[in-house]
């Protein structure tokens, strides 16, 4: 029953190539498979940039005091893409950066899997650090992605970043 009502939110409607194209053009997309970091990095190559900062968010084996076995991310893809485009656009206005790209993965993830990847390039180092952190924080606050953690006793819980 649970699988039925959430099934459509565990997969993207687009193809993987389409998701990467959208990420390259707009700076953000959802993906429902392994994030290919090298593919994303290549889109950021720029001889004028001395600084590259990236963040990888990985599924860790604990949250607060509980042992986590796995977790599942669910996404509202169309809103996520629209909101992601706005976030990357705003990042480029706020910080002296050349380009930025981010991908959030949805679906069932194991411990160690990368759930989110954010990369930024700029001429100088501080704007890349600041923008990467701001993009990550803003994605966590605004992108419509939800997660359910599964524990060793098979119980699960909806989590929220705020509210």
């Amino acid at each position: 029953m649970t699988d039925n009502v959430h099934g459509q939110s565990m997969n993207i409607k687009r193809s993987i190539d389409e998701a990467y194209s959208i990420a390259e053009r707009d700076g953000f997309a959802l993906l429902d498979t392994d994030i290919d970091e090298n593919r994303l990095k290549k889109t950021l190559d720029d001889d004028s940039c001395g600084a590259f900062v990236c963040f990888e968010g990985r599924v860790r084996n604990h949250n607060n005091a509980s042992n986590v076995n796995r977790l599942t991310y669910y996404g509202y893809e169309d809103l996520a893409i629209n909101q992601g485009r706005a976030i990357i656009k705003e990042a480029k206005q706020r910080f002296e950066i050349t380009h930025a790209i981010a991908i959030h993965r949805i679906g069932a993830l194991e411990i160690g899997d990368v759930a989110i990847w954010v990369g930024v390039v700029s001429s100088h180092r501080y704007p890349a650090f600041d923008a990467c952190r701001w993009i990550l924080d803003t994605i966590k606050a605004d992108i419509p992605v939800w997660k359910q953690e599964y524990y060793q006793d098979d119980s699960s819980k909806w989590l929220s970043n705020n509210g």
Binding site: V5, S9, Y76, L79, K140, D142, P144, W146, S160, G163
Partner: protein
């Protein structure tokens, strides 16, 4: 004149509602089509659906999206719109 007003009041619009996360659990569906009065506000729409599905979260804890963009609760909706109530997100 009075006829026109009557028509307006009786007229309805069809809205598609998508559910995610705990709202999908409580509604027990991913999406549904609802027919509501022409002038229904987003707040009234949530109130109606909340009564129907017994949603546990008050509107104050939610955001709302119309046609795949975040919207304000005071934004008008129109026939054919797609509406999503957004519980607190948990990406990253």
């Amino acid at each position: 004149m009075s006829t026109v007003v009557e028509n307006h009041t009786d007229a309805t619009m069809n809205i598609t509602v998508l559910y995610f996360a705990s709202l999908a659990d409580e509604a027990n569906c991913h999406d549904e089509k609802v027919e509501v009065k022409q002038t229904t506000s987003l707040t009234e729409l949530y109130e109606q659906l909340s009564q129907k599905h017994r949603f546990s979260r008050p509107q104050s804890e939610l955001r709302v999206a119309v046609n795949d963009y975040f919207a304000k609760w005071t934004d008008e909706i129109h026939d054919g719109d797609s509406v999503v109530f957004i519980t607190p997100v948990a990406g990253g």
